[in-house]
Subunit: 201 residues, 4 copies
Amino acid sequence: MEDQSFSKSMTYAPGLPEGATFYSAHKKRVTSEAVERAAEKALAERGVQIDDIAEIVFDLQKPFMSGLTKALCVENVKAVLAKRELQHAILVGIELDRFAEKKMLSEPLQSLVDQDEGLFGVDETIALGAVSSFGSIAATTFGYLDKVKPKIIGKVDLAKGGRVNTFLDDLIASIAADASSRLAHRVRDDEEKRAAQSHRK
Amino acid sequence: MEDQSFSKSMTYAPGLPEGATFYSAHKKRVTSEAVERAAEKALAERGVQIDDIAEIVFDLQKPFMSGLTKALCVENVKAVLAKRELQHAILVGIELDRFAEKKMLSEPLQSLVDQDEGLFGVDETIALGAVSSFGSIAATTFGYLDKVKPKIIGKVDLAKGGRVNTFLDDLIASIAADASSRLAHRVRDDEEKRAAQSHRK
Amino acid sequence: MEDQSFSKSMTYAPGLPEGATFYSAHKKRVTSEAVERAAEKALAERGVQIDDIAEIVFDLQKPFMSGLTKALCVENVKAVLAKRELQHAILVGIELDRFAEKKMLSEPLQSLVDQDEGLFGVDETIALGAVSSFGSIAATTFGYLDKVKPKIIGKVDLAKGGRVNTFLDDLIASIAADASSRLAHRVRDDEEKRAAQSHRK
Amino acid sequence: MEDQSFSKSMTYAPGLPEGATFYSAHKKRVTSEAVERAAEKALAERGVQIDDIAEIVFDLQKPFMSGLTKALCVENVKAVLAKRELQHAILVGIELDRFAEKKMLSEPLQSLVDQDEGLFGVDETIALGAVSSFGSIAATTFGYLDKVKPKIIGKVDLAKGGRVNTFLDDLIASIAADASSRLAHRVRDDEEKRAAQSHRK
């Protein structure tokens, strides 16, 4: 890898002292593209397709939008999956599920995670942190999905045969809530544009 | 009021420079007791009784606790209403509802609040801020209640005749979610104590 | 206003029953444009210019980006001010400051706000709610600015002569933290694009 | 372990269907005591003593409280470490630091964590989630500590020799912010009690 192509001027890292560099010769550069691919691959390996999440978004928004298509929901799920904070949350959550599945976590964390202990809370925290990127309304929708567990969320929550999906179900709820909120904001913007145009006529 | 009875040593105020005093002669002292009474009075004046909220807590926890009584739910609602952050949220939210009812807010805020605009979000933000004092699980429960709007929450949400309850319904959801989370944590603590005792026998 | 130009199909409002309509004949339509103009006007009337906020962003990011210009900071402040959730937070916060200034809030809320009571917290909650739209790193930056109160934040915090800026100082910290986080993410994206191009050569 | 001593009535687990049981024969029971001991042990093994954290609390509150003792700060740090949500956050964060140190995380997560990537954010999310249990003022203090990194926070942040403390520094900031907020609320309560007594005389 030719890190020499980076000059020190192309650096950013909050919290580091003046003159600190982010890209440097001894560091393995992680591109956004690599993170995005890894997050989508991790979801797929755990049995979650973008279509499954889009279906939840469709059910959430259908009552409020006539003419809503599944394709528009897919588009919005893909758009939120392009967000760094959400990708990072997915990578961390699924990694912890995998370690728990292989009984590799230290006790008592292993038991807390593989039993999906009701008062654990870190799974909700990580998912809520990602969801907050799309406003308090997305946070509300997340809470609803996390309780009701529709479709793919319920399916992974009840997975058997040694599967641990303690973090995964919350992550899916987070992605669906984000996409749903994004869709609502975009549709509103479109409405206003159309309204402005029809006034001008 | 005898503010002289306070010495400068009894002061605290984060963010102020060294030597700053909170209690001082020119300031009207606000006691916690006064704030607590005001918050409960505000709720009552808007038609919300502690019993109404306890009922929601009961419905939420009943499936998981045999022997749960309404009295225990009332006790937990009262306990969370003793929290400063929640009291402050109640005072601010209900004040804004009242101003909106009297058409005293400036435009476009007046329209955003009195129409309970779907993408407004500040009502959820204030309620979520108070709810976060009881962990991410309370935040999840809040989201659920805010969508489903059971009992008193739905009742105030649909209030007619010029009533504006844009903030109130979220505040009730917040109180119920807090109390529900507090109850769950306490019951767990009790279980553990009883378990420890029965082991000792 | 010709609300007839809206069909019922162009509606969205989360939490309302199926068939509910947002735009309707008896409602005064609030456009995003009107909200955006109102938020900027409110800031200006309270003595806060976009340039003042951009200066804080510049100071925050300067250590990590060589060649950072003030113009780029202004651009990012303007971009975050186009976000609905932040505009709504600004309108609510400044409205409460104004009511407090005119002694129009009911007690004990009036005293809590006009004394900028250290444990009040609703001002931070509203500002943090808006900041969360830009990730946990923005929330961290907000906390820092809220304590250190550089430049315009400190200036409004110490305003005298009956001025109440209890909410305003937190709102400015929120806008600056948002813009700073947005800038950091954009610069990273640019770095990656340039890196990808230089690899291809 | 004699799980028979638990009856099905002593169960609680939010989100599970009616009749679900938390304690059951095939599950390894995790007591609060075990979790608390594990969290404190994990901190100690990473070189963090309660005294180190109490020192930060002391520095934060000293300007506002005359007569503040180190012992009172220690007491408040211990009290917040008794909170389940914070213990769980500590266990998860330190586990991830350890895996990163042993190069056991999958790529690209391994690189994101062991380089303490500036825009990662999950470390702040987990720490902020725990901090939110003590109100928005604690969240503000957390942000400040996370930027300024005083004393033990800076020490672990700059640890060398293959050490990874990406999550640990944020966790310490969270504990200190929680304890500081708890202390402020308690001191206020005490002030009010003393004031009430001196009025009665």
